[in-house]
Symmetry: C2
Subunit: 214 residues, 2 copies
Amino acid sequence: MKQVLIVEDQRMPRENMERIISDSTSYELAASISSAELAVIKCQRQHIDLVLMDVCTTGSKDGIDAAAEIKKQFPNIKIIIVTSMVEVGYLDRAKAAGADSFWYKDVSRETLIDVIDRTMSGEHIFPDKSPVVQLGNASSAEFTAKEIEVLRLVCDGLEYGEIAKELECSVNTVKTHISHILQKTGYANKTRLAIAVTNKKFIIPSLPEDKETY
Amino acid sequence: MKQVLIVEDQRMPRENMERIISDSTSYELAASISSAELAVIKCQRQHIDLVLMDVCTTGSKDGIDAAAEIKKQFPNIKIIIVTSMVEVGYLDRAKAAGADSFWYKDVSRETLIDVIDRTMSGEHIFPDKSPVVQLGNASSAEFTAKEIEVLRLVCDGLEYGEIAKELECSVNTVKTHISHILQKTGYANKTRLAIAVTNKKFIIPSLPEDKETY
DNA sequence: TTCCACATCACCCATATGGGTGATATTTGA
DNA sequence: TCAAATATCACCCATATGGGTGATGTGGAA
């Protein structure tokens, strides 16, 4: 039974992942904690085979920082960075931190177990496409890297000017990006887009078929 | 072991409620379904003591319609309407439908079990206040009935004109209500308010101490 | 090399939005 | 009964927002 450490600060998804691990026959829940900072200490004090690490944006050290630290101290511990679709855009940082895989946490039990199994057997699972926001009921669109950055800020409720300050570009540029996002998604305005994303109306890319060379 | 039927169309809260029931010593999960329409048929085909019914806004028959139908055919079945805070404002309809209790589904296991226990022993639990949206970190505010109606539409991403059409009043009236809501909550604009509510940043009223006469 | 996708920014314009004041009914509770 | 709360609507104004066109530079792929 592989020992799994769950790091997730929100109650609902944490309990969800806890149950998925507890119900499985190959994995055992070693511990479940809310703080990325504590994750490193947990790995020092008890035997851990796999860490399901949320990106954990709160706190001085976020989930990806913690993942880098754990990989440095314990290269044999497998780490899967799990993210909600609202937090898209951490993929590059996760790879740089040495995470073994990166996937979305709001997926079915089967998909998550699949990602875990394949990671434990040495594969590296990374999405090759960004998740897309779902239109009324059909069609979809992918985003560029910059659009994802803008999207994340839109979902925090920022206005054009605030986004421009954050990204250090002109308001006109922000407007252009948002305009493209609205065209791609079909949403009428920033507000509806933000609500849709917050409600997780996403199409998540399907799991890659072949092993990544990474 | 009392037989419990769960009716909830969203995966996450449904699985959450399923686990709370399964883990309890007094209740047994009879069935867990996504459709309010099917709930009535379920009650006809197997013995059910309690229904945890989501308001289920999707579908031709919503949760409250289904609750009314079940109460009509099986007056002995206890029904608790569970709602997310995004769907505030169904209280009156739930009472009219003959629901035994009405509470929020995104609460702790203890609170939900408490509501269930008290409902099974004949109490009727209804919130005496509407939930309030949380400001940055402190203070809160309660809403008038009309403000809650407006709030719900704001959270659907409707614009002033659309809300006015929906409520059959002038745009100016809508503006006044939203202005009041923004003042009470402290949010800078409609968008941030909608996002906050969608993210369930609510303060839920505490459970009533005494039994309702109802 | 040439083309295309992308990021950047500017300008124009119509509408949406937020903030304020003030007015008039109606309802509710003390 | 009388005051407070509530719902209704109007008007003004500054800014935000969405849609459009167009222009420039860059980097990668064919």
